[in-house]
Symmetry: C2
Subunit: 196 residues, 2 copies
C-alpha cells in the first residue's frame, strides 16, 4: 500500500464514508459510494485502505475514540458522585441517539450484528472496545463502592457489563420504536435496579 498522499483525503473518506456505513450499514455501502460521497476517485480508496473491511475497522475505532473523548470525561468528573456520573453518562449517550432520530443506532452494536459473521478483524476490534467500555464503567463503579454508594458485596465489573448489554439492547429497540421509551426504561428502571 503506497504511503497516503493526502491525510486530508484520508480523513474525508473516514468521515463521509463512515457516515454512510453508520446510517446504511456496512454491506449496503460500496467502495464506489464511499469515494463518491468523499469526492475522490474510486481507485484512490486503496491508496488509503487495504480493503473495505480495514476501512470499517478504522471507522469503528474513530467512532469509539470520539465516544471516549466526548462522554468519557463525565465518568471522571469528580464534581459529581460516581453513580450520578454513570446516570449522566448514559443519559448523554441517549441524547446523542435522540439527536440522530434514533434511526442510526450505535456503530458498536450495528457492526457487532452485521459484520462479525464475516470479519474476524472487526470482531476482535469490537471485543477490545467492549473491554475498554467495561473498564471505564468498572472504575467509576469501584469509586461508588469506595464511597459507600454501592454495596460492598457487589461486583463492579459484573454491573458494568450488565449496564452495557442493557443499554445496547435499548439502542436496538429505539431503532424500532423511534422514540426514547427504551432509554426511559433504562434510566428509570434498569440502571437503578442494577446498582442497588
Amino acid at each position: 500500500m503506497p504511503r497516503p498522499a493526502n491525510p486530508e483525503t484520508r480523513s474525508r473518506l473516514l468521515d463521509k464514508g463512515g457516515n454512510l456505513i453508520s446510517t446504511r450499514g456496512f454491506n449496503a455501502t460500496g467502495v464506489q459510494e464511499i469515494t463518491s460521497v468523499a469526492g475522490v476517485p474510486k481507485g484512490s480508496f486503496y491508496n488509503y485502505f487495504e480493503s473495505k473491511e480495514a476501512f470499517a475497522v478504522e471507522v469503528l475505532t474513530e467512532y469509539w475514540d470520539s465516544v471516549v473523548a466526548t462522554y468519557g470525561p463525565i465518568l471522571a468528573d469528580h464534581n459529581m458522585a460516581p453513580l450520578a456520573r454513570i446516570a449522566r453518562y448514559f443519559a448523554s449517550l441517549a441524547e446523542f441517539h435522540e439527536r440522530r432520530g434514533y434511526a442510526v443506532g450505535c456503530l458498536i452494536g450495528n457492526m457487532a450484528l452485521e459484520v462479525t459473521p464475516s470479519s474476524e478483524h472487526v470482531r476482535i476490534t469490537l471485543a477490545a472496545i467492549y473491554r475498554q467500555w467495561m473498564a471505564s464503567l468498572t472504575e467509576c463503579l469501584r469509586e461508588a463502592q469506595a464511597q459507600g454508594e454501592l454495596p460492598a458485596g457487589k461486583d463492579p465489573g459484573q454491573i458494568a457489563v450488565a449496564l452495557i448489554d442493557a443499554f445496547e439492547g435499548a439502542v436496538t429497540r429505539a431503532k424500532v420504536e423511534r422514540n426514547r421509551s427504551p432509554f426511559d426504561s433504562f434510566e428509570g428502571f434498569v440502571l437503578p435496579a442494577l446498582v442497588t
Copy 2:
C-alpha cells in the same frame, strides 16, 4: 403478483433464503443468491414475493412464529413457578444461540439494526413482534406477582421490556465474544436483579 404455483417452492425460498439472511445479513444477500440456494430460477422469486423487503418481512414473521411455537410453551408451563419459567425461557433461548455458535444472533436484533433504517415495513413488523414478546413475558410476570413471587409494587410490563432489552444486548455481545459469558451475566445477575 400471479398466484404462487407451488407452495413448496415458496416454503423452500423462505427456509433456505431465510437462513442466508440470518447468517449473512439482509443487505449482503441478493435475490439471485436466495433463488440459487433454494434451487429455483431467479425470475420466479417475484411470483412469490413482491420484493426482497416483503421477503424479509415474511422471514422475520416465520422466525418469530417459530420462537413462539418452540419457547412460548415454557412461559405457560404451570408445572413450574412463574419466575422459574422466565429463567428457563431465557436459558433455552441462550442454548439456541449456543447451538449456532453465537455467530448468527437473533434475527429480531439483526433486522432492527440493519434493516429498520431502510424499511418502514420491517420496522413496523419488528415493533409488533416486540409488543407480543413483551406481552407474553408480562403475563408470566403478572402470575408471579399474583403468587407472591414478585413484589406487589413492581410493574410487570416494565420488567418485561427491561428483560428483552438486556437479553438482546447479551445476544449482541455474544456475537462478539463468541461464548456464553453474556448469557451467564444475564442469567446470573441481570434477571435476578430485575425481578427482585
